[in-house]
């Protein structure tokens, strides 16, 4: 398909290679967006990849949120375009207030890289529509600051509004709470990924873009990447995406 999905490249992004591979396997030609770009016209979807934007020495994503391209991404999101942040991309979206909540240091206070299973909460969103059935999806996590946090009221509202898209799964397939081995970072209520109120901006800590081929461990992430592609195509053609309420615009709600 001719849909163009942009990958935002910050100095220090390092999962851009994975994002390019993931989108390529999903059948689209990715467009690289430099952190100083201010014009996103020409792309109908945006992926913020993993890495350590600007080094992340202060706090993950805290510098990147002020970059020129993030103003453009915010405008793109306000117009209802689909935006997916993965790992560091999720941290940047949270710092920018484009999705609710915050990512704290892992409960173990150590970087953790391992395969986890996540459960998709809804199958009709712009980022889960291609997953198919609700089943645990295996994919890697690789982060030091991935503990999802928001105050209780925000979490309740988030769940009520269907804002939780993915949760970490325990061995028995149930949701993995903060202390469960299936939860790699202590995220509250096992939350691995969320979306904004409007529904067109989402972020998650695990790496679906690295889980698109069984040769490298799993292809369970392909459904999420394909969902982004399909939503980008739909938005390009109709200006809206099924399952979103763009009028809500930038509404993020949240922890801060």
């Amino acid at each position: 398909m001719s849909v163009r999905v942009g990958i935002v490249l910050f100095p220090g992004s390092n999962r851009d290679i994975d994002a390019i591979n993931g989108l390529t396997v999903a059948g689209v030609e990715p467009v690289i967006l430099w952190h100083e770009d201010v014009d996103l016209s020409g792309v109908s979807g945006v992926l913020l990849p993993g890495g350590f934007a600007y080094g992340d020495y202060l706090r993950a994503g805290v510098i990147a949120r002020f970059s020129p391209v993030m103003r453009a991404v915010a405008d793109f999101a306000a117009r209802g375009g689909p935006v997916l942040g993965i790992c560091n991309g999720f941290q940047v979206l949270a710092e920018a207030g484009l999705v609710p909540g915050a990512l704290l240091r892992n409960r173990g206070l150590r970087f953790v890289c391992r395969e986890v299973s996540i459960l998709p909460e809804h199958l009709d969103t712009p980022f889960t529509r291609e997953i198919g059935e609700r089943r645990p999806l295996r994919m890697p996590v690789a982060h030091g600051e991935g503990c999802y946090y928001a105050d209780e009221a925000t979490l309740d509202e988030l769940e009520r509004a269907g804002g939780v898209l993915w949760r970490y799964a325990a061995v028995d397939g149930s949701v993995a709470g903060p202390d469960d081995p299936g939860n790699p970072n202590g995220s509250l209520r096992g939350i691995a990924g969320v979306r904004n109120t409007a529904g067109n901006v989402a972020g998650l800590m695990p790496h679906p873009e690295t889980a698109v081929e069984s040769l490298i461990g799993s292809e369970d992430g392909l459904g999420i990447i394909r969902s982004l592609v399909v939503s980008a195509a739909e938005w390009a053609q109709t200006g809206t995406i099924t399952g979103t309420t763009p009028t809500a615009g930038l509404a993020a709600g949240g922890a801060r």
Partner: protein
């Protein structure tokens, strides 16, 4: 500097303060034809350090086989490069960062990763993987735990940020490393043939361009003070000699360097490591048969007031030197500035073969726009480039075998087995569980889960299960990489230990189906001025050469780390071997986990006596009375040729080599990783301990579907091996019946009541194996030690 501790003592001469001997000073005067000044002495002191000059080891290293049809860049380059066909090549090298890591574990390990990565991308290759081989003292010791934690965080903190996966390595504990841990890091890069770049200062008139971080006071004299002197206990005065890493700057440096090379903007590139600008300029000039005018004033600094010698020998990280044609300068600057990297022209390539350091009276630049010294510019130093590098001093060290040493056993020689274990009344199953839970054989998961092992989406096999495997995008090929060192045997017999290290590393590559391409090595030894230590080094190099010749492997590079001694103790000599192999069709790969129930399990290769230096002997606290097992390099070559052929023909479901912990541990690993048991019978000769836990080399275990057994046996015999059928996969337990006359009889003769069968549930094997390391390091309850997954993840197909 101890001489300074006595206020009344006369100040020692400068050359000694800098670590140069009187003999070396005389050689310097001879080469210059005059007395050197202070700056020149400082430059010689770092370039003639053991670390940079290989002055003790160079005569030995010349004996290594370095030729190979596929080798396109070898010893002497920043990293070895081997062609893998299809217009692609692989660059790889291993280096030590031992002493910096002992002083400041986090930064020492982090900059060890950064330094070896620069060697790789300076060749034009994109770094695709890191392996870290770590050795420490007693894991229950507080300082060891501090070092392990710092080193692991340092490796992860740097590698994770630059986006290069850490896919393998080793973590070994032995008392001999108590005062002097080993941090060896191997890096692998992939490049298109056209990207290959050499560090050669060609073209007089070309610009010498320094880009990357500014130069500061960190890492002053790291090469000479730290890497090339016997080591005191944690000496804070040496902390300024440890460099400080900035992985974010390195990430930018990778992208900028590869862009500069891809756009054809540079003549050559060299990274700045040990001895900083002095090394980069003199080596580059010497390789190009040229010289250089270096404008000291033009070098970007982190702070004012730096002495010329500090600028010239600083080991500030994340810096590169490029040789650039003047017409390309603007384009080079544009690339560096796009990546927010400071960049400056710091000199010119010249016809005359001297490295000349210049400064202007007002410090505003000693060279004009055409590279001509400005009026009044003064020469601070002038040294022939080759005097600092290719013609650096070389010593023929005295070599003497230690009084008490065990000779290498002749291959196949008759031996008197000693079977102290299993201890009286001890169930061999209990011994197996103890071995699986021991610090050196238990799961490394709590460590390697702190490393990003899959960034870049190439990791087919990551850390934890033998050799690592990385697919090559756009091809059917994969690279297989491993590091191995058998220090305990090297301690007893350096020739044998080094040869065994090469054999095991190559075996670990071959059992995946891949063909080993070449060897990089990091020789960690003691003080070369001690005849016994130098004997160990020379014997190990002989073993390394013999093994590489026998297995047809070229040595493409490496590094030597001497003076690995703390007060009162030298390390067990550790010849770290890194090997990269090529698998032409990744679909044919074989792993070490049992794949299915009802398959045949066979042992290929003969079990030889020799329990010395085994993990079993370590567990039993047994003295090495039995001697180490022998190694027949021709048999090793044949075994590896056999298994590669068998895998290529699709006859093998799984394969594991017999190494640490012996046959029983190899079988236990295949069961744990395959999440299934096996019903086996092992023929015992004289000694159950040798049969189950002996570590004699040149043995592998293969899993074969029943209908392929005849073909596999035929192929094995054609390679000179008589396979031993052990039994069948399946069930929830590993059961090993001890057959043969020695099973009970021999044991009873010695009064031990050894059980005649070993039977342990796979769940118990896994539990012992998973809990061993966190228990040894006191990490239980720690976040990293939590979350021990005892079962498959939901949604996970069994044994994938």
């Amino acid at each position: 500097m101890t001489a300074l501790t006595d206020p009344l003592a006369p100040p020692p001469p400068l050359h000694r303060v800098l670590g140069l001997t009187d003999v070396e000073l005389a050689a310097i005067v001879d080469k210059l034809g005059r007395e050197p000044n202070g700056l020149e002495l400082a430059m010689f002191s770092v370039m003639w350090s053991e670390h940079c000059s290989y002055k003790s080891s160079r005569p030995l290293l010349r004996t290594l086989p370095t030729k190979g049809d596929e080798v396109i860049a070898g010893v002497g380059e920043q990293a070895g490069v081997v062609s893998i066909g299809g217009g692609l090549a692989v660059a790889f090298k291993i280096e030590s960062h031992n002493h910096p890591s002992a002083v400041e574990p986090y930064q020492g390990a982090a900059t060890g990763v950064g330094g070896i990565l620069r060697d790789i991308f300076a060749m034009g290759a994109r770094p695709i993987a890191v392996l870290d081989a770590l050795r420490f003292g007693d894991p229950s010791d507080a300082r060891t735990r501090h070092l392990v934690d710092g080193v692991v965080r340092g490796v992860g903190g740097y590698g994770n940020c630059v986006g290069v996966p850490t896919v393998g390595g080793e973590l070994v504990f032995d008392p001999s490393y108590q005062g002097n841990p080993l941090v060896n890091v191997m890096a692998i890069g992939l490049l298109e043939d056209g990207m290959l770049t050499h560090a050669s200062g060609d073209g007089p008139g070309n610009l010498v361009v320094l880009y990357g971080s500014a130069t500061g006071r960190d890492g002053i004299g790291g090469a000479s003070v730290l890497a090339s002197a016997t080591f005191g206990d944690q000496d804070p005065s040496k902390r300024p000699s440890v460099q400080v890493g900035d992985p974010f700057a390195e990430k930018l440096l990778i992208e900028a360097t590869l862009e500069l090379i891809a756009k054809g903007l540079v003549v050559s590139i060299q990274d700045l490591g040990a001895a900083g600008i002095t090394c980069a300029t003199s080596e580059t000039a010497d390789r190009g048969g040229t010289g250089m005018l270096v404008d000291l004033d033009a070098i970007p600094r982190r702070e004012p007031g730096m002495e010329p010698f500090e600028v010239m020998i600083s080991e500030s990280q994340e810096r590169m030197v490029a040789i650039v044609e003047p017409t390309r300068w603007d384009a080079v600057r544009a690339v560096c500035e796009r990546w927010d990297l400071p960049v400056a022209v710091i000199g010119r390539v010249t016809e005359e073969r001297d490295v000349v350091i210049l400064t202007a009276p007002d410090g505003t630049g000693a060279l004009d726009a055409d590279g001509v010294p400005v009026p009044g510019a003064t020469e601070l130093a002038r040294i022939p480039a080759r005097a600092l590098t290719s013609e650096a001093i070389v010593f023929e060290r005295e070599s003497r075998p230690p009084a008490r040493r065990r000779a290498a056993p002749a291959p196949g020689a008759a031996r008197e087995p000693v079977d102290a274990l299993p201890l009286r009344g001890q169930d061999p199953g209990a011994v197996l569980l103890a071995l699986l839970g021991s610090p050196n054989l238990s799961s490394r998961r709590q460590v390697y889960e702190q490393y990003d092992s899959n960034v870049q989406s190439n990791t087919v096999a990551g850390p934890g299960r033998g050799a690592a495997m990385l697919r090559i995008k756009g091809t059917t090929k994969a690279l297989v990489a491993t590091t191995d060192a058998n220090a305990p045997v090297t301690q007893l017999d350096p020739w044998l230990g080094a040869a065994m290290s090469v054999a095991e590393a190559a075996r670990n590559v071959s059992i995946t189906g891949a063909r080993p391409l070449g060897v990089t090595n990091c020789l960690n030894f003691g003080d070369p001025t001690r005849p016994e230590a130098f004997w160990q080094l020379s014997e190990a190099v002989r073993g390394l050469a013999d093994a590489c010749v026998a297995l047809g492997l070229p040595v493409t590079g490496g590094n030597v780390s001497l003076y690995n001694e703390a007060p009162g103790s030298a390390i067990a000599p550790t010849p770290e071997i890194g090997i990269v192999g090529l698998l032409d069709d990744v679909a044919t790969r074989v792993g070490p986990a049992f794949e299915a129930d009802g398959n045949a399990v066979l042992l290929i290769g003969e079990t030889a006596p020799g329990l010395a230096a085994s993990e079993y002997a370590r567990l039993a606290g047994a003295a090495p009375e039995d001697g180490p097992p022998p190694l027949d390099l021709e048999r090793e070559r044949a075994l590896q040729a056999f298994i590669r052929a068998a895998i290529a023909r699709g006859l093998v479901e799984a394969c594991q080599d017999v190494s640490g912990g012996g046959l029983a541990v190899a079988l236990a690993e295949m069961c744990m990783w395959g999440e299934r048991g096996a019903e086996l019978r092992v023929a015992v000769g004289d000694s159950p301990a040798v049969a189950l836990f002996g570590e004699s080399p040149t043995r592998i275990v293969v899993e074969v579907v029943p209908r392929h057994v005849p073909a596999l046996e035929l192929l094995a015999r054609r390679h000179g091996f008589d396979p031993h059928a052990l039994g069948t996969t399946g069930g929830s337990h590993l059961r090993i019946e001890l057959g043969g006359g020695g099973a009970t009889g021999a044991a009873e003769d010695r009064g031990s009541r050894i059980a005649d069968a070993l039977e342990v549930s796979v769940a118990d094997l896994r539990h012992a194996w998973e809990r061993g390391l966190p228990r040894a390091l006191g990490w239980e309850g720690d976040g990293a030690a939590d979350h021990v997954a005892e079962a498959a993840l939901p949604g996970q197909e069994v044994n994938d």
